[in-house]
Amino acid sequence: MANKKNIVVEINPEIREALVEMGAVDAYKCYQCGKCASVCPWFQVGTYEFLVFRFPLETVLGLIASSEDKDDLAREVDKIYRCVGCEACVDQCPLGVKMPHILRSARRILVDFGSYPENLKSVVQKIRNVGNPLGEPREKRADWAEEIGVKDYSEEMEILYFACCLPSYDTRLKNVAKATAFLLKRAGVSFGILGAKESCCGEAIRRVGAESVYQETARSNIGNFKESGVKKVLVSSPHCYVTFQKEYPDLGGEFDAVHSTEFFWKCIEQGKILPKKSFGKKVVYHDPCTLGRQSGIYDAPRNILGSIPDLELLEVEDFSRNLSLCCGAGSGALWIDWPKGERMADIRIKQLVDTGADVIAVACPYCLQMFEETVKAMNLNVQVMDVSEILFESLGEDEVR
């Protein structure tokens, strides 16, 4: 009978207290209605059992990561890193339980013990070393901007454009940064970038549980922003947006963050940008979790698309706005490869393509990257574009200098 696992367990107050200490305070509140389990993207994936409502009870009983068995523990680590932080459960929870915070508290403990996925360890290291998850050199961060003559930020400028790591380095996503910069120029806005002095906003690694590296990175940004006299930051990524707006203030960084879709819609309303050129395609807009559910920005991107001549805007029935399905890249999941058949992006792309759209519009670099890869892998005849890219195209070629 040796090695037989005892399935009868005891309550473990030490684990409970550690988790609560790390921020799992909502665990006591949950009344186990289980609504979270069927709003979770994993429900739609359907091939991986992810019973969200178990976590609060496992927290208060002190059962999370309590197993002595190595394989059990590995499975549990895998499970804890399945949460993509889309907050669909938070949005729908009758009691407002912040489930991702409960999981983040577990992740913080795992990171402290070094027992977390290798891919994520490497991302955390790269951000610590060179300020971006791709491991690209700092000096190259401003390369995209030099190509089109974007200036360095200086104090008298109105706006710091913070392009996010992916649009700064990735060959495909650079186009988003460029389109945004062109649009800013067209609107007559004075803006610049901080280039090598920028580091990743740190959102993803904070959600991964690497709190100390997050704080280190965030403090470096806050220091550089302050030193350069930054007041207003325009971002392309909703992830940077929530971090600057809701999390940097805790570290003393009070900056006015604005997402590009909000900013450009205002420009259109004020007549500073005039979409003129006919687009001539059907476009479906995908609500990024972090822009929609987590920031409440649903209308600005739709308004922009709606103002473009000859653009037919489509919606995913049943799964748009706050009920949008996650692309599967949040909370570090962009760097985790789940087996085929367990990818949210595959499901979401199908929903989007089924609308009959020619173009999938997004407003988040993570979604853009996820969907580009998925479209390629599935060999689909659909374009994936950022809202800023579509808006830029609609200015008409004669407008570009």
Partner: protein, 1110 residues
């Protein structure tokens, strides 16, 4: 008072844990004027009271302070105690050191200091108290019960059976409340109607009960024992004494509205009674106000009225109703710009009701002209100048009033722009003549080829008033080179020549400049007049084009090209004959005043089009050459006549004007509207009544009832003549709706305004009971007690978007399911799906929808849903034995007599399936629905296919409860449920004396509890009636007559209307029976003349001084 005794209570551990009692006793004992101070564990207990009584005598105390809890709890207790010991009860004060000190502080030192200050201040106050005698108030032993659901009915019957009179007020047309909607009741499954209806009949026949149905509380004045209540008896437009409930009116009424009693699952007429067993058994007409379509119509046509009549196949009646406000049915049925459709509520969901097509249908349907009933002829004569739509309308409405109207027309033909400007393929001459013949049948004279040279003279030549409606016929020019070339036409001139069958030379390549309806008309006319290629050149884009979209589409179908974003810059010709047209490309800039984006030329984008005919159609202006020099009629810089906006009178009295001569080129309906308004003014002018009085546009109806799920969002389309058959002729293109289409289209109307006053019910009613002119009536009743039993409603399903209610017809709420179960419901008790009438084989019942959801909805448990879900599941299984009932719940709460047994019966006997988990989504899947959830017990994610979903919506206070609570100034909790005076000991009384609570207005409860609470409230009222008089607190306000200046500030401040002005002495008088001692007047009085007994200025300042340590 200088021998004060202070008694400090520990309140068990409630006070003593945070307040150092020993220290307090020492400190207070040393305070000036305090001759005795002691403490006790429970001062309110019998031994505690004995201590006070004994010490009072022993130490010869003349004032007492008890430092303990809130006076709300025990002031009465202690006052009675000292009264028994021989001291005036008003020489006792309570110092609240529990609620205001020990419960809210943690620091002992600070709390003790504060307690000491509170007590010392109270001691200072009591020192100056007077011995008072309570006032006696007579009790009016009559009760008002508000709300006649089961709780109100029960309370009313209990009081009436005890021999006291009851006034019962119910907001809806019948008593019965929600219980009348229910099928069976849990846990016994009694038939709801069977146990309720006898009670409903009781209240209507009881000699002691005065029932006001369809009435609301307007105002309550007075106070406990003597309330004066104003009741608004809402106009039902049916005389309740004459109506015998015979139902004759029901089939006559054409207006179909969503039936609220059936949870909007069926329709009822605008004249209705909620259900056949209604008490009182009389009909009510539901008038909501002016519907958006009618409000949008410049001529105020009763749009919803004739649409409703069409929906019932009453085509002739529809036409007659239409013509009451507009004689041009055929014309407007074809060419009206239909603002009614723009404002149609349907546009929020899809296509507007095709009102114009319906109008056209009824005008086409007319076979014979009905002989109009002529009015009493009047002697005055009116001249109308110009026989266009405006002039003819004015003459028509004047003739209807009995005036002799003569219309003078310069052309040989009648109709103005309708005949010269609109081509026959849109408005056949025959159809125009039908309208004109109708106008003539009213005795209107029309003199053609009679140009009026001086309209002012008409007043001297036997006419009593004049209406000028000479239109706008001067063409506007483009102002570019070459406009004088041969081959350049102007639109209206061109159309006139074609319409009057003049010879017109149309080339092969025609360009039409402009984007209005006339431009489209000109283009299509040119095509029919021999042109090979017709191009419309418009400077903006399609979106900004003012022409009717249908007309643009038809033109394109006919092969007409449209060149958007371009404008001509010059016409070029050879020897005076047009050869080509130079144009420039435009782009759209920022919006201009009209809201449309302003076109601006793109430099260097010029291009040329080869043309031999150009028709410039960019507008016209009036020709005022017939006005004499030095005319008294003022004109504008745009060469139009200026009139008063409301009366249409010009600057010359007796001369009125309207239509295009005032507005410039505008629509037919505005021309008609002007004619109609001018006719009203002319009538008033001739009988010398204020012309401007009471002519404001009526307000649009606010409360519009929509079906729960809006369907049929696409309108019926009329057939059109195939494009190939249109060439070379002027046959009408639009072929109109068929009768079946017209009816179907009319049935799409939401009936926003309710009753349309078509008066079909009047014709049907043999009792002469219909009174359309009825007005609300205010009655006053005097009562001594008020029982509020205003009930509940369900939280709106639309607020829970994820369950698809409002989107899917087969997602319904619990009360709707009751109606499906009910033998008197829309399906006579058969369970059928609202979408297709099929019998659902699996129903999902979802619990806690809106309840127990503090994040999005309501935090509380609605209490009744677990049980009615169980009942619904059980009854469904009984009706559909091969069906499956699945209840999704978080908990099943069955606390009640026989409730758990009922729940087990559903599980064991009927095999109702309970899944533990809250669903997250309900979506369509094929013809059915799918519920997404997880079963939290097995830990399995679930997708459950079903045919129907029933949502157990949260219970919320009725709108009436919320409104009434505000009006009566009685307290509610944050969710709007009425607050009881004490949650345990006084559960049926309000905090405001004289008000009692019953039923769900207080909190969600089931029928047995509601009835029990109603009887309890009745008992409380009866307790009051058993006394001849009540004692009232004597702490009322007194007026120092010397100081009062009679400024009346306190009169308006007093919430209880307890003050009036003594006109003789010019000072204020207090009605002590009404004064509640709230103190508002004391604060308002600038001179300090208002003083509340035992709370005079000196007492307050002493208290403040002590607290400040002075």
């Amino acid at each position: 008072m200088n021998r004060v005794g202070v008694f400090i209570c520990h309140c068990g551990r409630n006070i003593s844990t945070t307040v150092d009692i020993d220290k307090l006793v020492k400190e207070i004992g040393a305070h000036p004027g305090v001759v005795h101070c002691e403490d006790y564990k429970y001062m309110c207990s019998d031994p505690g009271q004995v201590i006070i009584k004994e010490k009072l005598k022993e130490k010869d105390l003349d004032a007492i302070v008890v430092a303990s809890c809130s006076p709300l709890l025990h002031e009465v207790t202690f006052r009675r105690a000292i009264q028994e010991a021989g001291l005036n009860p008003y020489l006792l004060e309570m110092a609240n050191i529990r609620e205001q000190c020990s419960w809210i502080h943690a620091d002992v030192t600070e709390a003790t200091k504060k307690a000491s200050e509170i007590i010392k201040a109270t001691v200072e106050k009591v020192k100056y108290n007077d011995a008072l005698e309570p006032a006696k108030i007579p009790v009016n032993p009559r009760a008002l019960v508000v709300g006649a659901g089961i709780a109100g009915i029960q309370a009313a019957i209990d009081i009436a059976n005890s021999g006291y009179e009851v006034v019962l007020v119910e907001r809806s047309p019948s008593v019965g409340g929600h219980m009348a909607q229910l099928s069976e009741t849990f846990p016994t499954l009694d038939c709801s109607q069977c146990i309720l209806t006898p009670k409903m009949v009781d209240v209507s026949h009881h000699e002691k009960i005065k029932l006001y149905a369809y009435s609301e509380i307007e105002e309550v004045a007075g106070s406990v024992g003597n309330f004066r209540v104003k009741i608004r008896r809402k106009a039902s437009y049916v005389d309740g004494n004459k109506c015998n409930g015979c139902t004759d009116c029901d089939p006559a009424c054409p207006v179909l509205m969503a039936n609220e009693f059936d949870g909007y699952l069926s329709q009822r007429k605008a004249i209705y009674r909620p259900f056949p067993q209604a008490v009182p058994n009389v009909y009510t007409i539901d008038k909501r106000g002016v519907p958006p379509c009618r409000a949008a119509c410049p001529a105020g046509v009763n749009v919803q009225g004739y649409v409703a009549l069409v929906s019932q196949g009453k085509f002739k009646e529809a036409l007659a109703l239409e013509r009451e406000d507009n004689p041009f049915a055929s014309v407007c049925g074809r060419v009206c710009t239909h603002q009614c459709e723009t404002e149609c509520k349907r546009t929020e969901f899809g296509d507007a009701v095709s009102i114009r097509a319906i109008k056209r249908f009824i005008s086409d349907f007319e076979e014979l002209l009905p002989e109009p009933e002529q009015s009493q002829p009047k002697h005055q004569k009116v001249a109308v100048v110009g026989a266009g739509p405006s002039g003819l309308s004015c003459a028509y409405f004047l003739a209807k009033l009995g005036y002799k109207a003569t219309v003078f027309e310069a052309l040989p033909i009648v109709g103005g722009m309708l005949v010269t400007g609109i081509p026959e393929f849109r408005l056949p001459r025959k159809m125009l003549e039908q309208d004109i013949d109708y106008i003539k049948s009213w005795g209107v004279d029309i003199e053609t080829e009679h140009r009026i040279e001086d309209p002012e003279k008409l007043l001297e030549n036997g006419f009593d008033a004049v209406y000028l409606s000479s239109g706008a016929h001067v063409e506007r020019k483009l102002d570019v080179d070459g406009e004088d070339l041969k081959g350049v036409f102007y639109g209206i001139d061109f159309l006139r020549r074609v319409n009057l069958r003049d010879e017109v030379e149309v080339g092969a390549n025609v360009a039409v400049i402009g984007g209005g309806n006339s431009a489209i008309d000109a283009a299509r006319t040119a095509l029919r007049s021999g042109a090979k290629e017709v191009t419309i050149v418009y400077r903006r884009s399609l979106k900004e084009m003012p022409a009717d979209r249908d007309e643009i589409d038809e033109a394109m179908k006919e092969g007409i090209n449209v060149r958007f974003l371009a404008t001509p810059t010059a016409f070029i010709g050879d020897t005076g004959v047009l050869r080509e047209m130079k144009c420039i490309q435009m782009r759209l800039g920022v919006p201009d005043d009209s809201g449309r984006r302003r076109p601006e030329p793109i430099p260097g984008s010029e291009f040329t089009i080869a043309v031999d005919t150009v028709i410039v159609t960019i507008g016209q202006s009036p020709d005022l050459s017939y006005l004499p020099d030095g005319t008294k009629i003022k004109t504008s810089k745009w060469n139009s006549i200026i009139v008063d906006d409301t009366t249409k009178q010009t600057s010359m009295p007796g001369v009125f004007a309207g239509g295009d001569v005032v507005r410039g080129p505008d629509t037919v309906i505005w021309a008609i509207s002007d004619g109609k308004e001018a006719a009203i003014s002319i009538d008033r002018y001739l009988i010398d009544v204020d012309m401007a009085d009471n002519r404001a546009k009526p307000e649009v109806v606010k409360k519009i009832t929509l079906p729960r799920v809006v369907k049929n969002n696409v309108h019926e389309k009329a057939q059109t003549l195939p494009a190939a058959e249109r060439v070379g002729n002027f046959s009408e293109v639009n072929l109109g709706l068929t009768a079946a289409q017209a009816k179907a289209e009319a049935l799409r109307c939401f009936a926003c305004g309710g009753c349309t006053e078509c008066r079909e019910c009047e014709k049907a009613c043999q009792q002469d009971a219909i009174v359309h002119a009825m007005k609300d009536e205010l009655v006053e009743e005097e009562v001594g007690a008020i029982i509020v039993a205003t009930g509940y409603e369900l939280y709106p399903v639309e607020k829970v978007r994820e369950y698809g209610a409002g989107k899917y017809e087969d997602v319904i709420d619990g009360l709707q399911f009751e109606r499906l179960l009910s033998a008197s419901g829309p399906t006579q008790g058969e369970i059928r799906r609202p979408s297709d009438g099929s019998i659902p084989k699996r129903i999902a019942f979802i619990s806690c929808v809106g309840s127990r959801d503090s994040e999005h909805h309501l935090p509380y448990c609605s209490k009744i849903c677990c049980m009615y879900n169980t009942k619904h599941a059980l009854l469904y299984k009984e009706r559909v034995p091969d069906g499956e009932a699945i209840v999704f719940s978080i908990d099943v709460r069955t606390a009640g007599k026989d409730y758990e047994e009922f729940f087990m019966r559903a599980k064991e006997d009927e095999n109702v399936l309970y899944v533990r988990g809250k669903p997250s989504r309900v979506m369509r899947e094929g013809k059915g629905l799918v519920v997404w959830t997880a079963d939290t017990l097995t830990g399995r994610p679930l997708k459950v296919k079903c045919d129907m979903v029933v949502l157990a919506m949260a219970v919320i206070p009725s709108v009436e409860t919320t409104e009434l609570a505000k009006k009566l100034r009685i307290q509610t909790n944050i969710h709007g449920f009425l607050s009881e005076a004490h949650p345990k000991l006084r559960p049926v009384e309000s905090l405001v004396p004289g008000f009692f609570l019953a039923g769900c207005a207080q909190t969600p409860k089931d029928i047995p509890e509601s009835v029990a609470q109603a009887s309890a409230a009745a008992a409380k009222a009866l307790e009051m009636f058993s006394k001849k008089e009540l004692t009232a607190e004597p702490m009322v306000v007194v007026i120092d007559e010397e100081m009062c200046s009679g400024c009346k500030l306190c009169v308006v401040t007093c919430p209880y209307e307890a003050r009036e002005i003594d006109e003789e002495k010019k000072i204020v008088r207090i009605n002590e029976a009404l004064c509640m001692g709230c103190g508002c007047c004391v604060a308002a009085c600038p001179s300090g003349a208002s003083q509340q007994k035992n709370l005079v200025e000196n007492q307050i300042s002493r208290m403040v001084e002590v607290i400040l340590g002075e």
